[in-house]
């Protein structure tokens, strides 16, 4: 028995030794990136994909009419780069006409036509499909084909971001594959786990719970990507195990490095931390303006605008950001992430001033009458709780620092950590005093209207913040037809929001990914891990054995 086992083991070892014969590098073109992700993609059907991971895979398998430039400017049309559309013209203030690249082919060899674009638009706007992008796509009045390679987009009103809305939200779908599938069944169709796209990479296989493999499409009309293979490897939810995999060389990219792992990665010989730039995120402490126990009534504390302003002035956000995000951290100064083209405009900001915060609290009648260290007024203590997702180390640390800062003012903030699903459910149902949110929307200022207007109540406006003036200002900004007018109106809108202090803006979090040193031309665009990945490459002298395996 022992002899049989020994022989078998020896056979396996020999097999392993000869297995490297599979290495090759045709045309000198090779390179493999193994990307570690904590969870698996949900589905690779573009209109229904919700997870970051699925969307990063989809961005390589499928393509859009045009791509945003690296600075994510949504109004400067010169920044857009051709993809399926080789060019576009503005026919009039309500119509954009795209000319498709006649060489564009689906990965099964069928040409991409204007009918595919029209079909895509219909799928995205169909309520039976339930695409998260549907509200944005409904900004477009209609799409029609004007020939096999010409397609026109019609808008109901003139505005600055028409081109952005036409190209950013939709990955073009193959009509010849999906046309016969009932719309309600599209999301569960096997296509979602075995997609056919027209992007720079072809789908190869999906091993459930383990990996998704793509290979560069050698017949693509798009420029040849630097890497021949890209493999997403599921590492499981344990972050320390995922970091070990990165540092041990099992994987090349870890899509997110928590703050405590960034330094560990930077001191490693093999790995560097690369920032998602510009960041599309900002985090904030949201005041609930309605009573969590009876939403029909105002919140006993935070319905008071002056109290919200005093608390905002009492938080030293710069110190908190330095402590958590390090010296490169960015303090948020409004509901505006660095990715938005309106970032840094001259809008009103509420600055840190602890002395002013104390004065204002006293003026509002808050005093520590019973000497317990917490201010009170008419028998009510200045005490509230904040809900924080336990999955976010950064937000937990921020909450602890801010808790100490508020304590020095005589304000008691109790921290309640919740699992993410419960956290979101409490936010949606308005059962909180304060909510530690992090928003990462589209790189368009229109995302402001998704959270901070009365239209967003019942949506992402979890704090029920309402100011009709803000609504009007945001509508005016969205309708602006030239960039200078848009700047002025967005400045007004953000100033109004900041003056009301519906939240304390904390940090414009700049997420970082861990990337192996051997890759060149590495950058990561703020909204998507893989938007720039086709430009990555591996110089010949830095190739590892896994770079030479070609599927």
């Amino acid at each position: 028995m022992l002899r049989i086992l020994t022989t078998l083991l020896a056979g396996l070892v020999v097999a392993a030794c000869v297995s490297d014969q599979g290495e090759s590098c045709p045309d000198g073109w090779c390179g493999t990136a193994v990307i570690a992700t904590p969870a698996e993609a949900d589905v690779l059907f573009p209109p229904s994909a919700q997870g970051d991971i699925a969307r990063s895979i989809i961005d390589l398998v499928f393509t859009k009419l045009a791509a945003l430039g690296p600075d994510l400017n949504t109004v400067d049309t010169s920044g857009f780069e051709p993809r399926l559309a080789s060019s576009w013209i503005r026919e009039d203030s309500l119509t954009l006409v795209f000319s498709l690249n006649p060489d564009a082919r689906w990965h099964d060899g069928v040409p991409v036509t204007a009918d595919d674009v029209v079909f895509t638009y219909e799928v995205y706007r169909d309520s039976l499909v339930g695409s998260p992008a549907r509200p944005r796509v409904l900004q477009i009045a209609g799409v029609n084909a004007r020939g096999p390679h010409t397609v026109a987009f019609h808008f109901p009103r003139p505005y600055l971001e028409q081109l952005f809305d036409a190209v950013y939200h939709m990955w073009i779908l193959p009509k010849h594959v999906l046309d016969t599938v009932p719309r309600a069944e599209l999301v569960a169709h096997p296509f979602g786990r075995n997609p056919v796209g027209a992007g720079p990479y072809r789908f190869v296989q999906w091993r459930a719970g383990e990996s998704v493999e793509l290979v560069a499409d050698t017949a693509s009309f798009l420029p040849r990507p630097g890497l021949r293979r890209v493999i997403w490897r599921t590492t499981g939810g344990d972050m320390s195990a995922a970091i070990t995999q990165l540092l041990s060389g099992s994987v090349d990219v870890l899509n997110y490095l928590p703050p405590e792992a960034v330094q560990r990665a930077e001191t490693s010989d093999d790995v560097r931390a690369i920032a998602y730039e510009p960041s599309t995120f900002y985090s904030y402490l949201l005041f609930n303006l309605r009573d969590p126990n009876d939403p029909a009534r105002p919140h006993p504390l935070f319905a008071d605008r002056e109290l919200r302003r005093a608390l905002t002035a009492g938080v030293d956000r710069a110190a908190a950001v330095r402590a958590v995000d390090g010296p490169d951290g960015i303090v948020a100064d409004g509901p505006v992430s660095p990715a938005l083209w309106i970032y840094g405009l001259d809008y009103t900001r509420l600055m840190y001033d602890a002395a002013r915060a104390r004065r204002e609290l006293t003026a509002l009648g808050w005093r520590d009458s019973d000497g317990d260290g917490v201010l009170d007024r008419n028998g009510q203590r200045l005490s509230f709780s904040i809900i924080v997702p336990e999955t976010s180390v950064a937000r937990r640390r921020f909450a602890q620092i801010i808790q100490e800062q508020l304590k020095s003012l005589g304000v008691e903030m109790r921290i309640t950590e919740l699992d993410f699903n419960t956290f979101l459910q409490r936010a949606e149902s308005g059962r909180f005093d304060m909510f530690y949110g992090s928003y990462g929307g589209d790189p368009s200022p229109a995302s402001i209207s998704e959270v901070w207007t009365s239209d967003a109540i019942g949506g992402f406006n979890f704090g029920s913040y309402v100011n009709p003036e803000v609504d009007r200002a945001v509508r005016a900004a969205l309708a602006a037809r030239d960039i200078e007018a848009a700047r002025r109106r967005w400045t007004d809108a953000v100033s109004l929001i900041n003056a009301d202090a519906p939240a304390i803006w904390i940090s414009c979090t700049v997420p970082k990914a861990g990337v192996h040193h051997r890759f060149e031309n590495v950058s990561i665009r703020g909204d998507n891990l893989t938007a720039t990945l086709p430009a990555w490459g591996v110089p010949i002298d830095r190739r590892l054995p896994r770079d030479r395996y070609v599927n």
Binding site: G130, V187, T234, G237, F420, N421, N551
Partner: protein
């Protein structure tokens, strides 16, 4: 024997039904639902979420949902995976082979290693080897499986780089390997998770086996075997070990549910694409039917494992047959 098996099978059906019902109810009591979202999801407009809730029947009363779940289950339909957008059974089915492979390998470690150590200890009872092995097995037995996995991963994966630290295969090369190469690749990936999962069981088995062997070695029939001039190897392997295995077989029945529980942690640490990791992800995402399906399936496996242990026990020990 037939009546015994039939009675146990009836019990098994009741247990599985109970597990399915409890899992269904507990999940529905937890806050949130499959459409609330996860930390890595984009924010989906509420109107879209509400429409999906209606489409999936999540807005219906819980009793109605339960009735529909039971009716579907009776037809062999486990329900729909909201996370993977396909039937829950397909999501589970894809992971079963990996979990069974890991559990089987861990069983080999648990019983192969555990019995071997127990036998060695009993033959050298009171010696320094016995003391050292006792200390080692007690230490391993007291170690949390999660921590043990991380330590093995850091030592053999990150520091020494001898063994792969994640997954069941190497996705870069696996498809290009010959058959034996693939087997080798799987074996290398299996070593650390199987060792982690099986080591603690092996420590327990070793302690049981040592005690059982010491008990048997002191009995008259062993003395008689030795007096007849049988070689030490024959006495130990053919007479002592065979009789000392009975208590360990009881342990086998208990080991299976423990191993299945352990796979949840080990699969998470080693990113092993099995049912344990699937279940954890599904719990976090409130993917109701994947969790209930996995729980029902795990209950079935545990019940079968216990049934096999009982049958084996009755086959090996005639006294249990007579008592029945």
């Amino acid at each position: 024997m037939h009546r015994f098996v039939a009675a146990r099978l009836l019990q098994a059906v009741a247990i599985v039904f109970l597990v399915g019902t409890l899992t269904f109810l507990l999940l529905r009591l937890a806050p949130g639902d499959p459409l609330t979202g996860t930390s890595s999801s984009i924010l989906v407009p509420r109107s879209v979420v509400e429409q999906q809730r209606r489409a999936f029947g999540l807005d219906r009363p819980i009793l109605e949902q339960y009735g529909r779940y039971l009716a579907n289950l009776a037809r062999g339909d486990f329900g729909y995976s909201y996370r993977e957008h396909r039937p829950a059974w397909q999501a589970i089915r894809d992971r079963i082979p990996n979990t069974l492979l890991l559990a089987a390998a861990a069983l080999v470690v648990t019983f192969g290693l555990g019995i071997a150590i127990g036998v060695i200890q009993s033959l050298r009872a009171g010696s320094r080897v016995d003391d050292l092995l006792s200390l080692a097995s007690l230490t391993v037995y007291s170690t949390p499986v999660f921590w043990l996995g991380i330590v093995l991963l850091l030592v053999f994966g990150e520091t020494l780089r001898w063994l792969p630290v994640a997954g069941a295969t190497d996705p870069v090369v696996y498809d290009q390997l010959p058959l034996l190469g693939r087997a080798w690749d799987r074996l290398r990936h299996l070593v650390l998770p199987a060792l982690t999962l099986g080591a603690i069981g092996a420590a327990a088995t070793a302690r049981f086996q040592r005690a059982a062997m010491l008990d048997v070695i002191r009995q008259d029939f062993i003395r008689t075997a030795r007096a007849k001039g049988l070689a030490q190897r024959a006495v130990v392997m053919r007479h002592a070990l065979r009789n000392a295995l009975l208590p360990v077989i009881t342990l086998f029945g208990l080991a299976f549910p423990l191993l299945l529980g352990g796979t949840v942690l080990v699969e998470t640490v080693f990113a092993w694409p099995g049912m344990g990791k699937l279940t954890i992800d599904a719990i976090h995402g409130r993917d109701y039917f994947v969790v209930t399906g996995a729980a029902v399936l795990a209950a079935v496996m545990v019940v079968i494992g216990n049934l096999l242990a009982d049958i084996l026990y009755r086959v090996l020990d005639p006294r249990t047959r007579e008592a029945a």
